[in-house]
Amino acid sequence: MTRFFSILLALSAVSLRADHTYEIEEIPLPEGMVPEISGVAFTPQGSLVVVNRPGEVWLTSDPAKGAKGPWRRFAFGLHEPLGVLALSESEIFVTQRPELTRLLDTDADGIADRYETINDDWCVTDNWHEFTFGLRRDREGNFLLATGLPDVAGPISTRHPRVPLSEEKVHREAKPSPGLYEGWVLRVAPDGRMTPVASGFRTAAGLGLSPEGELFVTDQQGDYIATSTLVHVQPGRFYGHPASLKWREDYAGPLDLETLAARRSPEAVALPHGSLGGSPGEPVWDTTGGKFGPFEGQVFIGDFTKLISRVFLEKVAGEFQGAAFPFIRDAIGLEAIQANRGSDNLTIPAGRDGLKHFRDVPPRSGTPLRPGNMRMAFAPDGSLYVGQTTRGWGQGDGLQRLVWSGRTPVEIETMQLTARGFRLVFTTAMDRARLADAKTWRVSRFRYLYLPSGSPRVDESPVEIRDLRIDEGERRVELDLAGLEPGFIYEVELEALRSADGRPVENPLAFYTLNRLLDGRGFTGPLSAPLRPVEETREGVPDPESGRRLYATFCATCHQPDGSGGGLPGAPQLAAANFRRRGPDGPLAKPDEALLKIIAEGAEGKPMPPFGGVLKPGQIRDVLAYLRAAFGEDDAPLDR
């Protein structure tokens, strides 16, 4: 009987697997390896190399065997390596916090015995947020890496810097660049010489090279970077965050926002905050020759949230732009979103807006995707290895891989710009009647603003479809849109669409970043102001219930569900305000205007970050309404 049930269970599992076009597999790690995976690579011979946050490098020549494979620890004691590149099993390069390092096994015992500093021309302090990201190597053998900005929510040590620090602000940046070349993409030649390539990065956590050798990085949403991005890096350009500009040779002093906006180069593709995650990691190109499905040549980007996105790039008027789609997203559940207490670091509004921006597509069974998907690499067999680390931001670490089942997923394969709209190509033949039905299509557009606080979506509006043409074969659709304009992100939703054989679109959502039209015209309007006033929510009346949900998502992690504040997790010396504290010095004794400003722009010199880039003004008023209602002075005194 037991055997019968076992067989039944196995058949059920097979059946479940058969429903998936991509399966997520756990890669068991060897005993003793801290599973905070911060770098994944393969040697030219196919051995898997992983690095972890505590600074170890591990190798296995047979990754398919998981923990039972021939793992060995190749190196240890590195300072938070966040990138790895393996030339062989005896020569491996890593980025550490302060340097690019070559690890060599010179005595052929399988263990690195030389740790050579290749370059450390940039400068770090000991701030918790000063990461060094990478690592890629171009065709000329140059190494490519990126440096992140520190965060004033933690101390920035000025002890013994390698070169003098600079505390000068370029504008009103919350994240400074005190150390040389912080916030830059850097190139290190094979002989060890470093060249600063491009500036304006906030947290460029992932670098990738296209098959043609073009360098792209992801940057993460926050001050000045309104939403996370995929940037095509070109020498000398500035990509938005002003702090790093002071290290340019031509820097002559602080700049105003208008000048910064004029100098800023746009991202190739925006990854709308919430809908496509919050903190993207490494972009990797599918060069598997079809082993990973129908997306050869496209880009996959892991995200800190339980998401992997897909990006289709095209060159328009000489510059890259394109479309982004969700690819794999864990079915966290709508209920979990509603109840989100911040532990999953979704950084999306709970409630109605949360439902809008975070759909469960596709609903998955089997092994769930973890959060912390910051590092990825394609294996020689065409599977995609995903390294995960979440320390302090969420829960879940490890190594998983995505394997294509061989079954074609129903997806929007590409979204290309045309003269009057977009051309969508699907991976398979679609249901012609649904394709032709205007109700199937929801097209809208929005913008982000270039502001010190970041920006929510503005100038949102539906877009009218003027004409829709379906090619024979039902795979290709041409959409003509009313008023196609550059400077907007166009969103297409296709939830009701089905394939010709009745399957739903796995990820019926696309965002095209329309920087330029085919004729090269770009946006000429204001970059830091909306074209029309930001809509007030609920006729301008603050909603404490909406504020309660927002508080649970964004505020409770530091201020606690009961408002009592206290030391931040991992940094008890930094305290969040205690809303229960009464009296003239209590945080809620401040007038509404001051509190709204603090929530939107952050508190100078305190760990309170700005939320103006995530929450709309109406939502910020909702939060304040909740603070007043839940912890305000109207009730009896709480704590002194």
């Binding site: 770090v124 320390r391 991992g570």
Partner: protein, 207 residues
């Protein structure tokens, strides 16, 4: 601390212990960890020469820093989003105050100091750096008794004489070989020469 975070920490604790608290066998030493060290420049080194002898090596301060009988606790560097420096787990007997005490050519001229890496040798770790472009190596090992630190510096030919300011803190006995003391605390070594500095705790280490 919420329940999830407690569980996470509990799950990670054995790994953290493996990195910092596990003494390992004698064959596992020396071992070097690049990390945030107290009173150091960013990204210094915690060096454990034996299970009971450790030091801070800080390239940005100019080499050997604090030396103590004991080990290094790395767990404060690995806990959360915002971390703290590693902890000295033991009794310091050598706490230098000078910055960049090694000079080439002119004892008063501070030279560009660039760190070049390190390598493991039998029972020792060798740090490499350049002073004004001249390569210098410093080999660190435990003395025969395992209680004290032996520093062996190799100077380049053509860099001129080397000058090393040597401090003699109350808790340590410091002996210098290979050069001449040209003024109190300032030792001179010939061009291309070598220096050996032995630093021993004056009082027996606690068991």
């Amino acid at each position: 601390m919420n329940r999830h975070r407690s569980l996470l920490l509990a799950a990670l604790l054995p790994f953290v212990a493996a990195l910092s608290g596990d003494a390992g066998t004698e064959a596992d030493y020396p071992r070097v960890f690049r990390t945030f060290m107290p009173d150091s420049g960013p990204s210094a080194f915690a060096v454990e020469l034996t299970p009971s002898l450790a030091l801070c090596y800080d390239p940005l301060r100019g080499g050997v820093g604090e030396v103590w009988t004991g080990s290094v606790d790395l767990s404060p560097t690995l806990r959360a989003k915002i971390n703290e420096p590693a902890k000295v787990d033991g009794k310091p007997f050598y706490v230098p105050t000078l910055v960049h005490p090694l000079r080439l050519g002119d004892p008063s001229a501070e030279l560009e100091h660039r760190f070049k890496g390190y390598r493991y040798e039998a029972g020792a770790v060798v740090f490499e750096f350049t002073l004004r472009g001249h390569p210098v190596s410093e080999t660190l090992r435990a003395d025969e008794g395992g209680r004290g630190l032996v520093r062996e510096l190799a100077f380049p030919e053509g860099g001129g004489p080397a000058f090393l300011r040597v401090e003699k803190p109350a808790a340590a006995e410091v002996r210098v070989e290979g050069g001449a003391e040209v003024e109190p605390g300032l030792w001179r070594f010939p061009d291309g020469g070598k220096a050996t500095v032995r630093i021993l705790p004056k009082t027996p280490a606690a068991p």
